[in-house]
């Protein structure tokens, strides 16, 4: 199962991630976004410096932190028993192509619920000037041994 003592644990800051314009387009098309939403002229007309990333794009940065948790022997997180329960993104500002981002994941809570564990992870995403851009909040349900 999951070690409840990891509640409050912060994992190291990720390496810098440069948000690429074509990566935004690739992610947007994979999530069925329209071509209008990845049109540079339209983005600039709306006042953005470059293309705006789709709202669920920060999942890519959340994954960096989760990989650290999976590799952490103290956490004891068996990923084969994990189900994605909830996901939320809270934006301070949109993510735009050209942003240099880093992310930092912390364990907000570990709770037991009917033989399962529910773990909430907060991933804070910062820009080059270390301002918070977005927080990704993920709830994973870890099924118990007999569930």
């Amino acid at each position: 199962m999951v070690n409840p003592n990891i509640q409050g644990k912060r994992y190291p800051r990720s390496a810098t991630y440069l948000v690429g314009r074509e990566k935004i387009r690739e992610f947007a098309r994979a999530t069925f976004a329209t071509e209008e939403s990845i049109d540079l002229v339209a983005a600039e007309a709306a006042g953005h410096r470059d293309l705006v990333a789709p709202p669920t794009f920060p999942i890519v940065l959340q994954e960096f932190g989760l990989k650290l948790v999976i590799a952490d022997p103290e956490a004891g997180l068996d990923f084969s028993r994990v189900v994605h329960g909830e996901q939320k993104f809270v934006f301070k500002r949109p993510i735009v192509a050209g942003d240099l981002l880093t992310s930092e994941l912390s364990v907000a809570s570990v709770k037991s619920l009917g033989g399962n564990h529910m773990v909430v992870f907060d991933t804070e995403i910062f820009d080059e000037s270390n301002s918070l851009v977005c927080t990704a909040i993920s709830t994973l349900v870890v099924r118990g041994e007999d569930a």
């Binding site: 992610f27 994979a30 999530t31 994605h84 329960g85 996901q87 939320k88 993104f89």
Partner: protein
């Protein structure tokens, strides 16, 4: 950009169908970096007790907001987006899974020009996302 003063709670602002096939899942795996084989291999999906190959929950979440982004005309207006994953979407090896998204106005704050839009995402007659809420700046 929609005018908040013309909106009414309960208004359907967008509605769209999405066809998911196995190609869609492979494409999302590549774009997102989530290569969990339950999203493209039948044998692995069955071996862990699933009814079949499932769409990534994050793919369902990602496509569900597309009609709202189109309605706004600018994804930079999204302030917050959260969902609960309630039911899996099984995608057959041949053919497709059809997902329907309906976006409705749920809350309006005329002062701050913020609106909450609730999404209903259904597959095979069941809602696959719960508490699917988007806050937007109008």
């Amino acid at each position: 950009m929609p005018d908040i003063s013309e909106l009414v709670i309960g208004d359907v602002v967008a509605e769209k169908n999405f066809n998911l096939d196995r190609d869609s899942l492979v494409r999302y795996a590549g774009a997102s970096g989530d290569f969990n084989p339950i999203h493209y291999r039948d044998d692995v999906a069955v071996s862990v007790g699933l009814p079949g190959v499932l769409a990534h929950g994050m793919l369902t979440m990602g496509l569900s907001i597309d009609p709202v982004v189109s309605w706004l005309g600018d994804s930079g207006k999204i302030l917050e987006y959260g969902v609960r994953f309630t039911k899996p979407v099984v995608v057959p090896a041949k053919g497709r899974a059809v997902i329907t998204v309906v976006a409705r106005i749920a809350e309006l704050d005329q002062e701050t020009k913020k609106a909450r839009i609730d999404l209903q995402t259904s597959f095979d007659g069941n809602n696959v996302l719960g508490k699917s809420q988007v806050w937007v700046q109008l």
